[in-house]
Point group: C4
Chain length 262, copies 4
């Protein structure tokens, strides 16, 4: 079996100077939430499914009892307007589960995307602050000084100290290996606590992204998810205040709910 198997869903579309947007599971699930929301709102079409021996040996079963193997997936969106650029969105169930797997999957996906004409990459991620963040800023990193300057205009913060240890995982590698392919790229990181899934942080980076890419996206559903998380977090806070202990084993089950949202 190939290390990475890319199955094209239909025949390969001819894309117009496409931009790759990556959002895989990670800190606060911020990147995945954002990419999945973008895909759903744009009604992006399935392009290819990616299987790999570097993913867990696992299949999911849906509510009808039908299985699918864990995967990453590419969708594409063609905006109307003759000058608009197409968007390719990468999402999925997992990042590669070993360092070598991360390198290999990223390399293979970028190699495939190059055949689609991709020369520019946006990666989406969360940045764990270790405390609750009311109004998440969007931090940035990029492959060139020009990209840094361009992103500052959209309010992206390039902090001297953050992220101190650099970027670990797909959001970093897609930029790093992308450079080996001659691609330029930007990583957008939404501040988040790091303790639970964070649709508000996802919303923050997505708002920047849609402005940069000149896309139309309705944020109602994502805002509503964010409020749901707020309510649950508040409940946990209340229970813990009241009992003086973590709510995990408590009657409310609120903490458990957090894992299921998003």
């Amino acid at each position: 079996m190939d290390d990475v198997v890319i199955r094209v869903v239909d025949k390969l579309p001819t894309l117009r100077d496409p931009i790759l947007v990556e959002g895989l599971p990670g800190v606060g699930n911020v990147g995945k939430l954002a990419a999945d929301y973008l895909r759903d709102q744009l009604k992006a079409k399935p392009l290819a499914t990616i299987y790999s021996r570097f993913f867990p040996p696992q299949v999911y079963v849906n509510e009808e009892g039908i299985i699918r193997m864990v995967s990453n997936d590419l969708h594409f969106y063609r905006p109307s307007g003759s000058k608009a650029r197409d968007v390719v969105i990468l999402g999925g169930d997992y990042q590669g589960i070993s360092p070598e797997g991360q390198y290999e999957i990223t390399h293979r996906v970028l190699e495939f995307c190059r055949t689609l004409g991709v020369r520019e990459v946006f990666t989406l991620a969360g940045f764990a602050q270790g405390h609750v963040v009311e109004e998440p800023r969007v931090l940035g990193a990029a492959t060139s000084a020009e990209r840094v300057e361009a992103m500052k205009k959209y309010g992206v913060v390039f902090s001297r100290n953050d992220p101190g240890g650099g970027l670990i995982g797909a959001s970093g590698l897609f930029l790093g290996i992308g450079r080996l392919f001659g691609m330029e790229g930007v990583c957008l990181m939404g501040e988040t606590s790091g303790y639970f899934v964070d649709p508000r942080s996802a919303q923050a980076i997505l708002k920047v992204l849609v402005e940069v890419l000149n896309l139309q996206v309705d944020f109602t559903d994502l805002e509503s998810k964010a409020r749901e998380i707020d309510r649950i977090a508040q409940r946990i806070h209340d229970v813990e205040q009241h009992t003086g202990e973590p709510a995990s084993a408590g009657g409310s089950g609120a903490r458990d709910d957090l894992g299921y949202i998003g």
Copy 2:
């Protein structure tokens, strides 16, 4: 050394639209118990032995002092009747011990089975409920809505919530990778406690399978194994009730016996 080495025992038989039945070690050893019992009852013939560097580096020594390397094995059975389909049974000592090994072994075995003409796969497994199950149900997962409907007629339960996290290991991968080979498939999961080997659960899934495949199997021996486990479980229960502690270090040795059965 190849990652996976498949040694054909004799010359390859020409099979009639064969169905692959997989049953490897796992939860409650349910899948393996069922596949081994089916093989023995059908007096299926050895077809191929599978070695892999993804198995533990181990040989077994039998009572005569003769070694054999750990392996998986394929046997085949030709039912009488001109319209009957042949059955290929996969069993063995281990699943691959790394995620990559699981993918690779599954892929190579399916590739080999495709050359035998296999287009349909049944995988057998246990489903851990975490408590003793008196009358194990048979839960299902499948590759298509048609298979789901077909299986419901045999009493297979497709539960909205189980298995929640999907299927891990060979029983899932043989369906997932099977789809990449264009094969259809069904996973039959016998409910089990998850605490010891469970011939009763094996019996439950096997009864469904033989009905689906229209095979004749005598369940006397498996029922007798199931009763033996019942007796041992009862003894452990009694000892623990009496002493107020786990029986593991007790004089009866009953708990130890559980591991050796099946």
Copy 3:
């Protein structure tokens, strides 16, 4: 870099129906002690050095300050007498440090040995009993009933229950993979406590081996090593009896000595 690199020391000798004897580090270091002692006593000549990325990334430095990379090594011995068979001895610093590495190294060494004409393998190992063994028996396992019977004549014990879990590591794999190359083989296991290096156990298996292979070996040095271990073990026993605690941190340092012997 190749997974396994085999460097022939000189030009390849033409060997007379050679027998491979394997003794690598393992339980009680019994196999390695025996193989190294045999090599030294026979003044066997260097044949090839084996490097592998499956060994630890390590070099040793000798007393003169000169380095050598960790390796396995093949030596060969030509007995006098026109009908005698040559002996190839495999020893070394480590077994492969991953399961896959164990398979690969074994496979590559056997492949190389086949080109030398090897059709028969003896593997040497310790068998941990978990308690001190005054007069270690030699347990056996073999690739065929004929070998089992032949070995019984030399006092080798084929026990119905030992080794229960089979053989793990090189001593098992050299027989198991050897069979894939059509080689016959025997594993000789010396009983040992499993707590420290055991030259007495090594002596026991070597005495069988030299009789089987019709070699002349003086056991004086090995016996003297065995007595040294006996003395140290006795000292530890005395200290522990006296103080009521393990001697490891004691003033005698006796327990530490054990690791350095052999």
Copy 4:
């Protein structure tokens, strides 16, 4: 993706009998400190960047917000004088993170260096003594007796017992695998406590190296770094004396500073 990707920065220079100097992260960061300092002082020019799937899946972000993937790097220096030999310096962020990765990266870098004409290697490392070392000695290991003798003239100590367990990691492998390429080599190990980064130890080995290679290097900056570490270590010592506990969580933050220096 290749296991190891070597990107030549410009076109390959033609080098004059070049010597490779390796200094990667390790004990006390001694080797890396020395190699980086040498590179900076000599104003060595970038030659090639080395990426590998055996490094962590990580990118760094600099103060301007621009990313670079973790790597090793080769620089070269051409001394003036028609008879002088060129120097190639290997430094970087990480050693390979698995044993196999260490072997593979070392092999590939040496293979590349051979095409540059490298026939001689110096590896730089720290040797952990477990206690503070006021005047670090330089210990040595080499590929031949001639090199050992040659190094003794420069005050390098070849100790009968150190390093007892040999050399682990790049500094050992570059010599060991270097021999497979027919290269000669020397490892210079600076004594260090092993508890923090140690510019003084780096200075000790570098002073030997520049004398051997007949290079001109100003040690002012390295000496100043060493004094800074001395001051911090003294502060930690004082705090711990005073409070009777480790200073790690103390108000001074001195212990934290140690990690950032160098």
